[in-house]
Symmetry: C2
Subunit: 408 residues, 2 copies
């Protein structure tokens, strides 16, 4: 098996299968000649948009399914299908004439994807992965099963069960299903706060004293070749639980870097599925690594790869879907990424102020998501800055944060 | 005036206008706040396609006009208008509700653009530039007027006039209007070959003993700030007159580099128009520089800028159209670009062979143009390779050329 580690000089070990042999008929067909593949994406948000920007480089005909006809992806695909990605028959009908499917959000009808997979349609990642990921209880049990370090936890089916966990505090209570971007998550530090927990199936996770929050993207193709992007380091807005800055590469000691990479690889490889996996981890002050969550798709923590890495996460996923060799995940230059988030005091048609000053910054790259309406906390776009110097990155990111304002 | 020279460490001289002042109401409006600009592109080929891939980063709503509903740009714009870009009323009606227009091919109705410009619609480049460029006689006279070095020439209105130019041989005969990609150009070395010339208005250019063919992209915004991309060096297929490889940066001595830059700047700045200008030049063996042709738009000679430069030619043109500061034209890494051209023996639905082997090459970037049909000599896509080492670039480009085959 070939593993590409991005933080080192790239090295390539050849596949252990004999030269010339190819066990996968699909890949063999792709190697011999390429015609256009029909690929559908469930979800039409910014991740779909950025996937479609890159799709135009490859022999692929694109379909998007999304309920909002004015979503960020609507005008960049060959075929837009208005529909509910959570509805069995709509997803099934969307997928059944296509060669392959992928997602840009986990909250999709997995049963329809399972049926489509049985009928021979490739799904990236496999529906079996989505079943684990969409339920935080199953996700935690997956980590435990594969001896992947994660915070201690207990499962609570309702508020009554939660109230018995006083000795487990301080802890974080997470809804098993439906949480997203800070929703469905509650900090519970005291006995009194137990009352504010969820009265539905949930996971209660032991609070960790977080030193750093990092993420690693892992790419796996159908030949089980693997590419590891270097870890990124994140800073969150404590109020909205939305990302402020993201620095790449994360500053880690070599032993911790290797530990982080080994953990991320273990998370991704045990799914036994091709795809792209964003593994979010906490480091505590004593150098322990804990997996927080995994997203089996292109992810906010990989936006910087568009400019700062040889092969972006979007390029990488197309290579996986189309059966091509993996791209090069290595860094071209260090980077910082700033999310452009809807200001607290505005809702309505968006106007951006300070764009000129931001685009005056050397090697700052704007990505707007084409959302017409701003709302408090809404992800409207992002800016990536690349530079050799960390202090330069931080200085410029702060300038972006101070300068660019969303209004309405 | 600010000039960014890409081959040096980037330096920035501020505008000569007093700080805070702004003479252009349009730019001032952009500086204060950005809402979505409506921009139309005349032509829907690969250059339009790559413009649209980048447009999704910016606050812009896109229109394409093109006769072929299956053209490379058709599915990547907000609004596709089927129409003839050479027809006055179709171009006029297309443009009149928009904020700005640009082109991806020169062969458009310039009179309609002039009318639209008078009505306040921004056109990049100005129609006055297109009038000069579209007629090779006017283009040559423009170079002469501005003392820009170009090969000696005589104007021939018909075959009779051409036949009187025996003493001017060997020479190249170029149709004044309608030549493109090697069509409308004839080598005339002998008296007998004079008979094969054009019986229409044309330019007869003295043959130059070409040592190198190079091109320089120049970007100019409405504030007259200027960015210079480093020169590229080209190798052409002698049969089809289509580009084989293109290397960046061109290998030039410092005195020739400065001469080339000065000439390219003079060509672009004398147009008195914002826009992107691809200036194609010949070098002879004694170090003389001759301007061959100029394209006032994104151009084949700038494809490599997508991966190999901080700001690509497509990014740069959007910055110009939207009134933002210019991007950084400097090189991230040296590059080589290989056009993927329809093989001589095939016409019909395209199939690509060898894609897997090509995408196995480290830091090779595929760009297919989504053309369903291959024809001999048709530009189907391109591949850019980036690397520190010239020999590595050449080796990989040769591998691409040997490996990737278009069939039908």
């Amino acid at each position: 098996m070939r593993i590409i580690r991005a933080h080192e000089q790239i090295y390539k070990n050849y596949s252990t299968s004999p030269p010339g042999s190819c066990l996968l008929p699909y890949l063999c067909a792709m190697q011999n000649s390429s015609s256009v593949l029909k690929v559908g994406i469930l979800g039409g948000g910014q991740l779909g948009r950025m996937l479609l920007q890159v799709a135009a480089n490859y022999p692929v005909e694109t379909w998007i399914m999304e309920n909002d006809t004015e979503c960020p992806s609507a005008h960049l695909c060959h075929h837009f299908v208005k529909g509910d990605i959570k509805n069995y028959s709509e997803v099934y009908n969307f997928g059944k004439g296509l060669d392959a499917l992928t997602i840009e959000i986990e909250n999709v009808n997995v049963e329809a994807l399972e049926q489509l997979e049985q009928e021979g349609i490739k799904v990236f990642p496999k529906p079996s992965v989505l079943k684990i990921i969409r339920d935080k209880i199953q996700q935690k049990e997956y980590y435990r099963l594969h001896q992947i370090p994660t915070s201690n936890f207990v499962i609570t089916q309702n508020l009554e069960e939660l109230k018995q966990q006083q000795e487990f505090l301080p802890a974080v209570h997470k809804l098993a299903i439906g949480g997203y971007d800070g929703r469905g998550v509650k900090m519970i530090a005291t006995k009194a706060e137990l009352e504010t927990g969820f009265d539905q199936p949930a996971v209660l996770e032991k609070m960790i004293s977080i030193q750093k929050e990092i993420a690693v993207l892992v790419a796996i193709n159908e030949k089980k070749e693997t590419a590891l992007y270097p870890p990124v380091e994140m800073l969150f807005d404590p109020v909205l639980n939305l990302l402020n800055y993201q620095l790449c590469p994360a500053e880690l000691t070599t032993p911790i870097l290797y530990k982080v990479e080994a953990v991320a690889l273990a998370v991704a490889k045990n799914f036994n599925s091709p795809g792209l996996f964003a593994v979010e981890m906490f480091l505590d002050k004593t150098g322990n690594v804990f997996v927080n969550e995994t997203a089996p798709r292109v992810h906010n923590s990989g936006h910087h790869t568009i400019e700062a890495h040889y092969s972006s996460q979007f390029d990488m996923l197309w290579r996986i879907i189309l059966g091509y060799p993996l791209g090069n995940p290595a860094i071209i230059l260090p980077s910082i990424m700033v999310n452009i988030i809807g200001a607290n005091n505005y809702s309505g048609d968006v106007i951006y102020e300070g764009m000129n000053e931001v685009l005056e910054i050397e090697n700052a790259y704007l990505h707007l998501y084409g959302k017409k309406q701003t709302r408090p906390g809404r992800k409207m776009g992002h800016i990536t800055i690349i530079s050799k110097e960390k202090h330069d990155l931080l200085h410029k990111a702060n300038k972006v944060k101070r300068t660019l304002i969303t209004k309405s």
